[in-house]
Amino acid sequence: MLNQDEYNQDEYNDYYKNETKESELKSFIKQKEKGFGGKLIALLILMVLAIAGYFGYNTMKNSSNSDALPQTTQETVTENKLQKETNSSSKKTTLQPEVSKQEVKEKVQTQEEVTEESTAGATNVQEEKATATNLSTVQEEVVKAVSTESTKMSPKEIANVVKAVMEQMNQKREKTDVQAQTVTTKDGELMNKLSSSEVDSVSSDLEKSLNDTNIDENTHVNNTEKQVDVYNKVNVQDVKGSDTLSQLAKQITDITNEAISQNVEEKEEGQDKKINYTQNLKKELITRENEMRIIVVQKGDTLGKLAKRAYGNVMEYKKIYQANPEITRPDRIYVGQKIRIPN
């Protein structure tokens, strides 16, 4: 059985060792810098890289990314700019992967360019899709190159190519994380500057652009199919199992239902009678139900419209936006998306 304390201690020890090694090396470099010059520094850097190892380094990088808040320059965003962004993003076409018959390394370079292009602007689902397509194309190329005898690649070369692909994936992930936060912060600022009428006009423009394109709808269709949403919630509402555990659950549910019909839940004993625990629980349940309340986005819906429907005020769309962190921009919702409507 796993022991959480032991595990945490091991992890802490590993991390602490790495930290100590790094700081020792840094101080060593400082001391010796004057005497030995650039060659020694280069040698030491290579040693640090060797010690950290490729995967260890990646892990450290990931963990530090999750803790640190990205520093981004804040822009003053006007309504015009938002419209411009919206229009331009809706007009963008899907990037087609170029499959070169040359060396796979060239393919990786092409991929690098595409990734840079795609991460230059605001977060765009279409661009992400293109990047993902290109990544998979590179991987396919690698597989093809390895499996065909005509291509002469040594295992070392293959390892280099795979390493390059993995680096690309890591870079892409980091950029996406930073972008998501940048856009959210920018939108937060933007929201505070918009008036009610401005939101309405933006909403109608966005509605038009939503009607014109079904990009988001297509992109997210897989998530809906998997019945797992971004919050790791698995919907089993319509699933009926026949395994042993499901049968046990069903038999106990039958007993529960029978007892509930006899108002067993309402019974209170001793001190509980005064406190009325189950009644209090049921009151709390209302809060929980409101937290769990969702709507499924229909064609033509915007956050402004949803807010008006739920609260009678367009400006309350901030409430919905804040309760759904997976919405990176208020204008980025898609048909079929499940959105939480807070109380």
Partner: protein
């Protein structure tokens, strides 16, 4: 041929990279079943994710919603997430244990821990002897020839409710101990559902509340 042999290795490297937020250093996710469906229990992979308006309420009137004692009973072992996941993978899988959601049915239906079955605390707390017998039999209890309840093959129960502010597990334990269910076969997951949610672990929705 050598190149082909290397492929699964590289493919596994690429696959392993997908799990950014693992459960522990060595466990990226575990599998269990719920409602006959295979469920992958993992943590939310978005490193920017925050709990917002979802099990984030901090303050409820106390009493009745007071901070619970660390131990329900000195002989009942406490569980935390890793023990519960381990339990899910072994005892639940081989049928020697069950995760019990002791909350009211309506709470369970909204969201629960994968593979948990619902046995609301009032059902056990107010159960007659015959009702308790009926439930315990389902949980593996047998009756000896002399009519004694034999718990030697009874399942181990890992019980949880909403979290440290919730007393539903305590009420459940009071009820089940009244009929001498062995303490050695009971576990208390004190952090409960809120603790589970806080780690972004997979949950099960039995009833979706849609708004038009």
């Amino acid at each position: 041929m050598k190149k082909l042999l290397l492929l699964p290795f590289f493919a596994s490297l690429l696959g392993a990279e997908n799990v950014t937020v693992k459960i522990t250093k060595d466990i990226p996710y575990v599998y269990t079943t719920d409602s006959g469906k295979k469920v992958k229990v993992e943590r939310i992979q978005d490193v920017n994710n925050r709990l917002t308006d979802d099990y984030t309420k901090t303050s409820r009137p106390c009493p009745p919603f007071c901070v619970q004692a660390t131990k329900i009973d000195p002989e009942i072992k406490n569980f935390e997430e890793l023990e519960l996941l381990n339990f899910m993978q072994h005892e639940v899988k081989d049928g020697t244990g069950v995760i019990i959601d002791a909350r009211l049915k309506s709470w369970y239906e909204l969201e629960s821990i994968p593979s948990a079955i619902n046995l609301p605390f009032p059902i056990i707390l107010h159960a007659t002897k015959s009702k308790a017998e009926q439930i315990f039999k389902l949980l593996g209890m047998t009756i000896d020839k002399d009519g004694t309840w034999n718990f030697s093959k009874a399942k181990t129960l890992a019980v949880y409710c909403n979290g440290v502010w919730c007393g539903q597990t305590k009420h459940f334990m009071t009820g089940i101990l009244k009929y001498h269910y062995p303490k050695s076969k009971l576990r208390y997951y004190r952090s409960g559902f809120q603790g589970w949610k806080l780690l972004g672990l997979t949950t099960i929705v039995h009833k979706e509340i849609k708004k038009k």
